[in-house]
């Protein structure tokens, strides 16, 4: 059961980053809008059950990166809106830097050819 869990954790981590970035760009959104937005951006590449989003939202809220309150949606339904907090913004900056670094390093490994090591 442990390898499954690890994969999910990685996914959750990236999902959290996507949530933060979405809220950073678009401002306060409800859960459905966040899910739609992530779908749009990632296209069909990322097939996630939309429901998976909610535990991530809860975790982020518990960590203080986002805050939520009840509001009204576009078609006047009661909806819970999530917004980025100051702490969340900092976290986003730190994590996107970290992400870029990791991506750059991995990128370098990929351009590396066998000849370069000789």
């Amino acid at each position: 059961m442990s390898p499954m869990k690890e994969k999910k954790d990685v996914l959750q981590g990236t999902l959290a980053l996507m949530v933060l970035k979405t809220l950073d760009v678009l401002g306060p959104l409800h859960g459905y809008a966040i899910a739609r937005r992530i779908e749009q951006i990632s296209g069909e590449l990322l097939s996630v059950n939309q429901g998976t989003l909610y535990p991530v939202l809860l975790k982020l809220e518990q960590e203080g990166s986002i805050a939520s309150e009840w509001g009204a949606s576009e078609n006047n339904r009661k909806a819970r809106f999530y917004r980025l907090t100051r702490g969340g913004r900092k976290q986003l900056q730190a994590e996107s830097r970290g992400w870029e670094q990791t991506a750059a390093i991995i990128g370098r490994f990929f351009v590396l050819k066998a000849d370069d090591l000789k």
Binding site: N49, Q50, Y54, P55, L58, Q62, S73, K78, R80
Partner: protein, 921 residues
Amino acid sequence: MRALRRFFKRLGSWARTHQDEERLQAEIEEHLAMQTSENLRAGLSPTEARRQAVLKFGGVEAIKEDYRAQKGLPFLETLAQDTRQTLRRLRKAPSFTITAVLTLALGIGATTSIFTLVHAVLLKSLPVANPAELYRLGKESRCCYTGGYSQDREFSLVSYDLYKFLRDNTKGFAELAAFPAPEPLFGVRRAGSSEAAQSYPGEFVSGNYFTMFDIRPYAGRMLTDTDDQASTPPVAVISYRLWQEKYGSDPSVVGSVFNLNDKPFTVVGITPPDFFGDSLRNSPPDFFLPLNTEPFVETDADLNKVDIHWLDLIGRIQPGANPASIEAEMRVELKQWLGSHWGEMSASDRAKFPSQTLYLTPGGAGISSMREQYEHWLLILMTVSGFVLLIVCANVANLMMVRGMERRRQISLSMALGAQAARVIRQPLTESILLSLFGGAAGLLIAFAATRLILHFAFPAFAGFASVPISASPSMPVLLFAFITSLVTGIAFGIAPAWMATRVDPIEALRGASRSTAGAGSLPRKTLVVLQAALSLVLLSASGLLTAALHNLENQNFGFEQDRRIVAKMNPRLAGYRTDQLSLLYRRIHDSIASIPGASSVALCLYAPLSGGAWGSGVWVDGHPPPGPKDDNSSLWDRVTAGYFDVMGTPIIKGRGISEQDTATSRNVAVINEAFARKFFGNEDPIGKRFGRKPGASREFEVVGVARDARYVTFSLGRPSGPFFFLPEAQAEYSQGNLGSLFLHDIVILTRPQVNLSIVQVRQAMASVDPNLPVISIRTLREQVATQFTQQRLIARLTSFFGILSLLLASIGLYGLTAYNAGRRVNEIGLRMALGANRGQVVALVLRGAFGLILFGLFIGLPLTFAAGRFLGSQLYGMNPYNPVTTLVAVLALGLSALAASLIPALRASSISPLEALRTE
């Protein structure tokens, strides 16, 4: 930080589960509604739109589960669940629960009670501020006086002169305080009171003593440097205990005058309640007097003797100072001081000069003589109680396994239904930890009672004196110890049964037959019984050894008679007698007591046998070459009045005893014991030979008799008595002034046969001589001898108790296993009987199984008993630790109780009717 915040949020949301569930439900509903409406816009039918939305959302229950896991504290939740369930299950099995909790309470209680003592005696610091800053002089504690300018191994006692030199020159100490190693008693009377003087322990302390310990007064003030000067009026500080118990917390005590040894002292303050001086000991001091009042109080003062070393030192180092460099500094100072007394040093002192050194050791526990005295036996008791705890664990583990067997079906069923192994293990583990926590709580009560009992026997309090400052009520470290012990115990006896519980095949549940489990789990239970047998064998033989050693000690030939002898203790110093008055006083005491109708004869001496003291000196024999600096020429001696040997019942082997014919004007004589004769005269006839106590004075005494060896000192009880000589009181050096050895302490009374001499009669006889002379105690010689073995008796009894307890537990364990196995073999036994086996064969079958285990236990236990004998070592007083008799007795005891434990199930098994047995299929 973030993890912490999350934890608190989770803790919070765990508390309001319901509300959050609703919120999630609402969010999911809304999400689905939005997706559905979007799907509708895309042209799907309403049903299909909803279906697609739900599909896209994913498994709602799984997400809810995930959400819950994120939100609350699943660990805590299941823990609470498990606990609730376990409690319910324990309630349903009251006999199991009570047996397990009681067994555990015994084990944990015994261990905790011994730990209370270990903590108080071996681990605890003095109740003073920053005990880690305190350092004391010396690695070992010594008593009480040593003379000259050299000390063996280390310079650990100092004279007042040397103290001042060290105090004034060592910069690393913030304060360096001094106090005498001997613990004096003072005759105390409040001025103006009509009461007779009573004796209380007291202590002389340097003026900075309380500053050094940082002790604030309970009332009044503590002593200061100003008080500790020869010229200032004498003041004293009284203990809180005495102030409360004896003077009823009378506030006017502070400021009033008390006569200590008939010298007036003004009490200026009361020490705080928890302060008991500089060392943990029985009867801590009740009075603290400035060191400089010692010559004022004591007729034989040591303060101004440069070469009498009698002071212990404790100092508080400067913050940040390095004790090693202070030690180095003090070593140089010691050499400087010794060098400045080169002229007064003897040849042997000078020879030892290069090797003279001193050590500083951590002093937070004070002068820890008690620590040294009790360390070994506390260690023994701790080990023994640890063994008992192990046996207890094994027993409860056994019980748990039986329970586990009964639950196998249930467990295999839940595993078949997909329960995780971790969750299945957690339940029995929760049960065992819960049981042991209950056991621990009950054990605390047992520990409290047991500690009180042990303290009462180990440190008997003298009437009116403070008792040893050890509290039986559990302190924080003791509580912590009990808690951790319970937890560890719970895990220790729970882990194996819990693990075994999960070793089931889910298929079994479906098969539904309990027979398929036969044989499983039998090996661990057998191992436990073997372990128990081995451990109880060790404890039994250890207690056998200790009991036999105690028996040897108590019934040895003491060299004196115990029956019909009474010893009264007094101290003429406490009534302010001068030495020139003593001879007359002794005569009057002798005559007054001898005139009591029931008294047959009376003698006085410095110390009666086994009363806790003796004087020592060197011996120089006339006509023999003087001993070299490394030779041991020491002997102990006693000063006695005429007729002493007859009163004591010590046989004179050669020559005569001390008699009335030895007077101040006749030649100086001595009676020696056999060991003295062997050591100093070898094969020569000692009668008529001369010896002395100083070099160049070897003709001081003429030997007139040899007495049978008798036990005088309370140490080295395992070895033969050492050399000893007796001098007549009538020939004492009364002209020499304040010699301490002139003050006789003990009055030995031989009563007439069948006469009970009452204590009142003796007190009256003493009071008729001088009402101001306090009688410290009156008791029979038999009692006095018995008190010497209190410690040995206590440890032997405790070990025996633990030994029997462990035997009982092991028997119960064996009984349980045998009965269980026999029960499972009902079919087999029935079959055997049907095929012609008789009852005897069936009994033998069952017994064989049980005794196989016991034999295994012996096999493992025997080498351990020998190790235990070695570990007991000095506690055996010279007895052979590999005593075959005690080992044999222990083996027999184990065998007999094993027989008893297994015979019952064996007989029961043999009485099965074969028909019935086969029918129980």
